[in-house]
């Protein structure tokens, strides 16, 4: 039944983002940073814990943003990289007695290698087909972690409990506050590095591939290299986020890293604005807080309330937080001129 002919002259999957729109201005960045710095001083420990979670998911959303917004590849497998990072950190801390901060780079490097290697078969796939391949990865990971052969290290279905680190040098901070600042420091470092990456030659190469692969290769860009590199970087950052997640939640178990996590990260990216890195934190806040809000509105219908809220957001701002930021920028510009 080859009745349906396809002649596609389609536009790129994602609208091109002007380069400058990738980041926030210096002034706005300073305000956001200040807010993030002082916020923990005024709230309870549990809220600090939630804010830390937002930062961690923010990192994972940022990683997906680099992959999808940067290089135009779609992934539903981020939860697998997140799980891998979390488990590497947890195993190193609990079985090798390593310092928690030192486990993060190791998680990052191993996940980078894993993502890079996964990027190789993924090279031949795009769009929906790539989504299915990464989806397979996300489905396989929890089952893999439950395998009997690895149980000695991973703790099988039960998972591993991780000890929560104290603030170093006798700083007068609670554990939660310390972890918040620790996460914040890492998040800012990775955010700046990512922005620099996307502004560099490599970043431009990735965006050229996103906008038109054939044209990019005609310009002499090594398409295979940069596509796999994007996968690697994305997986590496997700791995660090996963490691942080393990430390903060103090617990890793296979069933915390199902496909639902990958879907949540995807929603975070859409709500934050695809390809707009600062939006990652907005998206992360959405996926951390909105399910709770939905639950508090109606217990039985929490799924429906969540869905309706999500619809409201995408109806009002189909381009996510980026659109809000652009509108604000526009108004501020008008005020300045008048």
């Amino acid at each position: 039944m080859s009745a349906i002919q396809e002649t596609v002259t389609d536009a790129p999957a994602i609208d091109a983002v002007p380069k400058r729109a990738m980041t926030l201005g210096a002034g706005t960045s300073a305000v956001v940073l200040l807010l993030l710095l002082v916020m923990p001083l005024f709230v309870k420990n549990f809220v600090i814990f939630q804010l830390t979670t937002v930062l961690i998911y923010g990192l994972a959303v940022l990683a997906l943003n680099i992959l999808t917004g940067g290089s135009g590849q779609f992934s539903l497998g981020q939860s697998a990289f997140y799980a891998l990072g979390a488990y590497i950190s947890a195993v190193l801390m609990e079985h090798a007695g390593m310092n928690y901060a030192l486990t993060l780079p190791i998680s990052g490097i191993i996940c980078f290698a894993f993502g890079f290697l996964f990027g190789l078969p993924a090279l031949r796939l795009s769009g929906i087909y790539l989504a299915l391949a990464t989806f397979a990865l996300a489905v396989a990971m929890p089952q893999f972690l439950k395998l009997g052969a690895l149980e000695e290290w991973t703790g099988g279905v039960q998972g591993l409990v991780v000890t929560k680190p104290d603030a170093p040098f006798g700083l007068p901070l609670s554990q939660d506050t310390w972890l918040y600042y620790f996460t914040l420091a890492i998040a800012i470092a990775i955010y700046i590095a990512s922005i620099n990456l996307l502004r560099s030659r490599s970043g431009r190469a990735m965006m050229a591939i996103r906008d038109n692969e054939i044209a990019a290769s005609a310009m002499g860009i090594n398409v295979a290299l940069y596509k796999t590199l994007a996968f690697g970087v994305s997986a590496g950052i997700t791995g660090v986020a996963g490691g942080l997640g393990a430390i903060v939640v103090q617990f890793v178990a296979p069933d915390s890293y199902t496909i639902q996590l990958a879907i949540a990260l995807f929603l975070g990216m859409v709500v934050g604005g695809v390809g707009w890195l600062p939006g990652s934190i907005v998206g992360a806040a959405f996926i951390v807080f909105v399910p709770n809000i939905a639950e508090s509105i109606s217990k039985g219908l929490s799924g429906a309330v969540f869905g309706v809220l999500l619809f409201v957001v995408i109806f009002l701002v189909p381009h996510g937080a980026r659109q809000v930021a652009l509108v604000c920028q526009h108004w501020i510009g008008k005020l300045k001129r008048s």
């Binding site: 929906i128 087909y129 397979a136 995807f266 429906a304 189909p318």
Partner: protein, 292 residues
């Protein structure tokens, strides 16, 4: 050898479920160019409507026809209300919309009909088919309906004016509009048809997996996998893909030691990924030629 043929037969029987779902998936993909993640939940909701009618005393086939009509209207309504306004939004935003729809339908169905498992009758009975213990008459009926549906769809797209218009609208929307096709309504029609086909799939699957709001979770994953394996542009591919996935799944479970139920899905998916790496647009799909 006997074990092998038996497992292949059993695989075809489960494959019929996936083939049915995959057909619905391909239908909507033809019309809107995305995979609808909420497809399974919509089918589940249709099945619940049929169940409710039967509880009220409506005979099976009347409930069947009514459900198809309601699902068709419901699919169009969803498109008009929720996704037409998003037509200009980026693709990924649309996908987020599907996820939202998924959450809403699942939660609402859970509230109306709660999460207990319900029996669902089969129009074909459940006696062994032609003396074989592996395929029941229901499963044979399911295979028959799937193939019948495939033929009907082929005839519809090949020989009717409206089928031609739908194909034109999906292939080259701008040119289609120039020759006077209302492409916007063609998309709505695609939603309606996909929803109705999904309802048929749901009604056929429900006697096997039992009726509950989460019944489609596993089926939809396999249905997607089947549709993608067969190539998203081909209904025939979807059906063949469905049977192949069913057979894969069964053979993996039987012959790979230690695979068991837990690893069946990942291994089947991995096999599909390997097939895709060799043939990136699916077994029956057309290679899309891109111009720069």
């Amino acid at each position: 050898m006997e074990l092998l043929t038996n497992q292949i037969l059993a695989g075809i029987a489960t494959g019929a479920i996936y083939a049915c779902m995959a057909l619905a998936v391909v239908m909507i993909y033809q019309a809107i160019d995305h995979l609808n993640f909420a497809q399974g939940e919509m089918a589940m909701f249709s099945t619940f409507m049929a169940w409710q009618m039967m509880q009220w005393g409506v005979p099976y086939w009347a409930a069947f026809v009514l459900t198809l009509i309601l699902s068709f209207i419901g699919g169009i309504a969803i498109e008009r209300l929720l996704f037409k306004p998003l037509a200009k939004a980026p693709i990924l935003t649309n996908v987020a919309g599907f996820i939202a729809l998924f959450a809403i339908v699942n939660s609402v169905a859970g509230l109306i009909w709660d999460f207990t498992i319900k029996q669902f009758p089969s129009p074909f009975g459940s006696a062994p088919f032609l003396g074989s213990q592996l395929i029941s008459t229901h499963q044979a009926g399911m295979i028959g309906v799937t193939i019948g549906l495939l033929v009907l769809l082929f005839l519809f797209f090949r020989f009717t004016r409206i089928g031609l218009a739908m194909r034109a609208a999906a292939t080259l929307p701008e040119s289609a509009r120039l020759v006077g096709i209302n492409t916007s309504w063609m998309i709505a029609l695609g939603w309606g048809m996909a929803s109705a086909i999904g309802a048929i799939a749901g009604l056929l699957i429900a006697p096997v997996v039992f009726l509950e709001p989460n019944m489609m979770g596993g089926v939809l994953i396999y249905g997607f996998a089947a549709a993608v394996l067969g190539g998203l542009s081909s209904p025939l591919g979807a059906v063949v893909g469905g049977f192949l996935v069913g057979i894969f799944e069964n053979l993996v479970g039987t012959y790979i030691p230690g695979a068991g139920n837990e690893l069946k899905l990942p291994i089947a998916l991995a096999l599909i990924v390997i097939v895709l790496v060799v043939k990136p647009s699916g077994l029956f799909g057309h290679t899309v030629i891109k111009r720069v």
